[in-house]
Symmetry: C2
Subunit: 339 residues, 2 copies
């Protein structure tokens, strides 16, 4: 944990206030700002800083550029069958997700499985934050959305699809943190390559290719070429799956289209979002949540030092509730200026 | 393509006959044998030989060992809401899948999304063969089942979960082959390591670890240790997801439990199976199938030599319809002996 003059310690209440004020000040409605500040605070608590307070800067920029409608009122356009569809009307995604999640849960319990589709939204937060509450409510959840158009096919030399995150959460029973993960289709976030370019650092081998498809450790060459999918052709297949599910399936943008309409303000991309929920009670697994929990607990114990996904985040969260979190002084100053 | 005295050329009709006769001779019912021979023939046509005729030997062995009920009559135990549940009653999976698929499609069209769960089945074939027909019928499909308990967590040294295949298919419109992939959570099939052990070959780096978690190229050490997940902790996360979805969620076996009850006859493992189907018409994407198809076509053209999943299989299938397929002479003899 970094400490000292570069960082200040804030309580989670202070983090939430620091997240919410700049959003309200730039004209984002209370509903949106509240949903966004909640998720950003959770990311800071979980030490998932790349999706924490830092993202507030991009959200404010995306409103100021005129890209995101700060007062968009999401409209539930359909609740036929097991599908809930919400038009986010060019606003941020978290407020419509708050509206959609209980409707999704209701339908999952009614039909055994259900889907929530958002259109025309701007999603900037970590997907684990979206699925974890669904699993805390006793349902299995799977979610995906389009990411930055920057990932090559295995053997390719140019972006073919987006970083396209996919998240999954499985309930472990009353009072237990769910099994949760969230992974992108790329070896690394595009921002990591940007950061190394700015600091003059080189890339580890295996992250990227140049415009001729040759492996490169140069951030400049990588940005002219493409990021590699994780796990070769398997990661690429999953990236294409997400691109199809969150784009064409929903009648929404593919990653290249999202990039083409983006104002490059540093904020999130426009696009679609899909979440599925499954009720274990309808599959014979309801009585087995404790059993799954016991299995996962034993796995974690028997396979050290290997860890299950989410372990580090949940441990950080427990600490943060007691001790608060460390926030970089420069980020704190940037946010205070926006207040 | 290998040719010559080691192989003989058979028409697809001959392959189907060669697959079906040994199954019928060992007492497998006509319904099961027909479904199994169809899928094995398709695998041979697609040059997916590891899931082709070779698997018939394991199926026959699994009946002879008394493990699989060759005349099991699957029972549809529930069709409430959007969930179809089938008890395979200890029989092979493909016949119940044939029964379940139209029920799944009906519910996906009624509710927008639906699920098919099989319990107590033996699945031996490639999952792409299960989801492709669903997408040819205009629905998006996702399927998974438990595989051999042999894969470590990233940083681990012992099997924590199974090879756990996951398949996805997306329709590309009338008369077009769907976008289809099928991937396991492991870098490689356990059988590949067995094959190298027998032939005295070493393993490429990155496939496996020894019992202390150290990277190894020794097949013996790998079999005492574990196979690595593809793509590090991301592949492991996906493997755990499949283990939860096809095991505990369905109230069925985890990979370690499936291994514990297995008779080691070389045939498939007992377990659960989950397939989801989504109707694009209910998500705004129905009119977009042609658009998705055009995008995938353009991707394939622009990103050569990189290929989309399924491309090679579909090209092989078109050739096989004209030319038939090459079958190894020794496998042919083994199957003829069983007829």
């Amino acid at each position: 944990m970094t400490k000292g003059a570069d960082h200040i310690r804030l309580s989670l209440e202070q983090v939430r206030h620091l997240a919410e004020q700049p959003l309200l000040r730039c004209g984002i409605s209370r509903d949106h700002a509240d949903a966004m500040a909640e998720v950003v605070t959770l990311a800071e608590a979980d030490e998932a800083r790349s999706h924490g307070l830092y993202r507030i800067l991009g959200c404010v920029a995306a409103v100021r550029s005129g890209k995101v409608d700060p007062v968009a009122v999401p409209e539930v356009t359909s609740t036929a069958g097991a599908v809930v569809r919400i038009d986010a009307k060019g606003g941020f995604a978290l407020h419509p997700l708050r509206i959609g999640r209980p409707l999704l849960a209701e339908r999952a319990r009614q039909f055994g499985i259900a889907a929530l589709a958002l259109n025309h939204c701007y999603h900037f937060s970590a997907l684990w934050g979206d699925v974890e509450p669904v699993a805390e409510d006793g349902l299995v959840a799977l979610a995906c959305t389009i990411g930055a158009h920057s990932v090559a096919l295995a053997g390719g030399s140019a972006p073919a699809f987006g970083t396209n995150p996919l998240a999954f959460a499985y309930p472990r029973g009353e009072g237990r943190k769910p099994f949760v993960f969230d992974l992108s289709a790329s070896t690394v976030a595009k921002g990591e390559i940007e950061l190394r370019r700015r600091s003059g650092a080189s890339l580890p081998p295996g992250w990227a290719v140049d415009e001729h498809g040759a492996p490169t450790t140069s951030p400049d060459a990588a940005l002219r070429g493409a990021i590699l999918p994780f796990g070769g052709h398997k990661g690429a297949a999953l990236g294409l799956m997400v691109e199809l599910l969150a784009g064409p399936l929903l009648g929404d943008l593919r990653s290249a289209e999202a990039l083409a309409v983006d104002t490059r303000d540093g904020g999130p991309l426009r696009g679609g979002y899909l979440m599925l929920a499954i009720d274990p009670a309808r599959f014979g697994g309801a009585g087995r949540l404790n059993e799954a929990d016991a299995w996962l607990t034993a796995l974690a114990e028997q396979h050290r030092p290997a860890r299950l996904p989410g372990t580090r985040r949940h441990a950080a969260r427990a600490r943060a509730r007691e001790e608060g979190v460390l926030v970089s002084r420069s980020l704190h100053e940037q946010l205070m200026e926006l207040c």
